[in-house]
């Protein structure tokens, strides 16, 4: 009925290849005085920031501070907020975005390959070879035809994260990508986030784990939102 992309003020620049647009000149995401209340409690208010290509943003804060809600608002999944939100992307938000929720988004009865191939069919990225490569990149080569129910929590998270190795999505919105995975996995994912940002993508993630010094931070808590870009650009 009403396309959520319109409501979020998403104005496609034009239908051109991502690589042809100098995204570093454009604020991919502009957030203006964003506020959200839930269950009679102000989660955050007056949040304003501009995120551009090549940025990595970490949303941090104590449990219940509204990190997941913020990501759901940004992804167009949660509509009860005040303020303004504007995506400027070469295509629609849903075409450009990879969203990984804090629940993995996998059906236990299906194998990793079946889960991922359905998701990539929805997103129009349909190559089984690429899926196999992605699975082996997260260290799950050989697990692709075992039902997800048989995998450990960390392995399940890795299956979901394998989508980071599929091309074509400039914007990544990741809810707690580092939970349940081991130190090797953290390092692996961290490297992938960095290389995505270096290639001109935008990463917004929630975690208690801060990537090294160059991350921009949104700190939520006690109904407030603070922006911390003190370390940003240190690596640039």
């Amino acid at each position: 009925m009403n396309d959520p992309n319109d409501r979020h003020g998403n104005a496609p620049l034009s239908q051109v290849e991502l690589s042809q647009v100098d995204l570093s000149q454009v604020g991919l995401l502009q957030v203006d005085a964003l506020g959200c209340e839930r269950d009679d409690r102000t989660l955050f208010a007056g949040l304003s920031f501009t995120a551009g290509a090549g940025d990595i943003w970490q949303v941090a804060g104590p449990n219940g501070a509204g990190k997941t809600t913020l990501l759901r608002i940004l992804a167009g999944l949660f509509g009860f907020y005040d303020g303004r939100l504007r995506w400027q992307l070469p295509a629609t938000l849903r075409e450009s975005m990879l969203y990984l929720g804090h629940r993995a988004g996998l059906r236990e009865e299906l194998t990793p390959l079946e889960n991922l191939s359905w998701l990539s069919a929805l997103h129009g990225q349909k190559q089984d070879a690429a899926l196999m490569a992605a699975l082996s990149a997260v260290g799950l080569g050989g697990f692709e035809d075992l039902p997800v129910a048989h995998l450990s929590a960390g392995q399940k998270r890795r299956v979901a994260l394998a989508r980071l190795w599929l091309p074509g999505k400039p914007v990544w919105i990741l809810d707690e990508p580092f939970t349940a995975i081991d130190a090797d996995g953290v390092a692996l994912v961290e490297a992938q986030l960095r290389s995505h940002a270096a290639a001109g993508g935008l990463v917004i993630y929630t975690s208690h784990h801060q990537l090294a010094a160059d991350t921009r931070q949104i700190l939520l808590g006690q109904g407030e939102a603070r922006i911390n870009t003190a370390h940003a650009g240190a690596a640039a």
Partner: protein, 222 residues
């Protein structure tokens, strides 16, 4: 139409991995229908008179109970969020899910119904009407029930609420479905009634997925 066939294939695959969800509604249908002769009377005349209502109410309940899980597991595992952020029309993915569910749950009900009708002493001449009525009616029941399922997907103990919301909406399908069989028993023409069932189905299939998609978005907080 993007995503339609992939979703359809995946739903069938899911059902094959957990066959209980497909078999249980069918089992429920058979058990409920066979309770009635035990509860009321085995007298053939009485059974024949009751049969249209009994079969249709049992089919309706079987469909409704099977719908509670249509979106619930997806919601709990986060698959629903993935469906909502995917760059495909939710209308078609929802339609694919319902079509798959009907093929796996609704169609077996239609196929087994003549046997139950025969056991309830229906004459063989009306079994065709029974089947075509159910063939037109059960997809409507699926779509209407899925609207309720989409609105109750995030709620604890939503299955009772689902019944309260959906059963009043089922009344037209029930009236025309059981009515068509009743008319067939009296050797009256049934095609007009089946045409009305078909009209309800057309309405449900064309507008229903919009309502379901909107319901899913509302339930996830948009």
């Amino acid at each position: 139409m993007k995503g339609f066939s992939a979703t359809l294939r995946r739903e069938v695959l899911l059902a094959m991995r957990s066959p209980a969800e497909v078999i249980n509604p069918l089992f429920f249908f058979v058990v409920v229908v066979s309770l009635f002769p035990l509860a009321v009377s085995p007298a053939p005349e009485l059974l024949r008179e009751m049969a249209p209502g009994v079969i249709w109410v049992a089919a309706l309940l079987a469909v409704m109970l099977s719908l509670d899980g249509l979106f619930r597991t997806d919601e709990e595992t986060g698959v629903l969020d993935q469906l909502l952020v995917a760059p495909v029309e939710l209308y078609f993915t929802v339609l694919a899910k319902i079509l798959a569910h009907w093929l796996l749950v609704g169609l077996p009900l239609v196929l087994v119904a003549p046997v139950l009708g025969y056991m309830l002493q229906l004459p063989v001449s009306v079994l065709g009407t029974l089947m075509s009525g159910l063939l037109l009616g059960t997809p409507s029941l699926m779509v209407i029930g899925a609207i309720g399922a989409s609105l109750t997907v995030g709620l604890r103990r939503g299955s009772m609420l689902l019944a309260l919301l959906v059963l009043p909406l089922y009344i037209p399908v029930l009236v025309f479905g059981a009515g068509s069989l009743g008319r067939a028993l009296e050797a009256l023409p049934v095609n007009p009634v089946l045409a009305v069932l078909g009209a309800v189905l057309a309405l449900a299939l064309s507008l229903g997925p919009f309502a379901i998609a909107l319901g899913l978005r509302i339930s996830t907080g948009d």
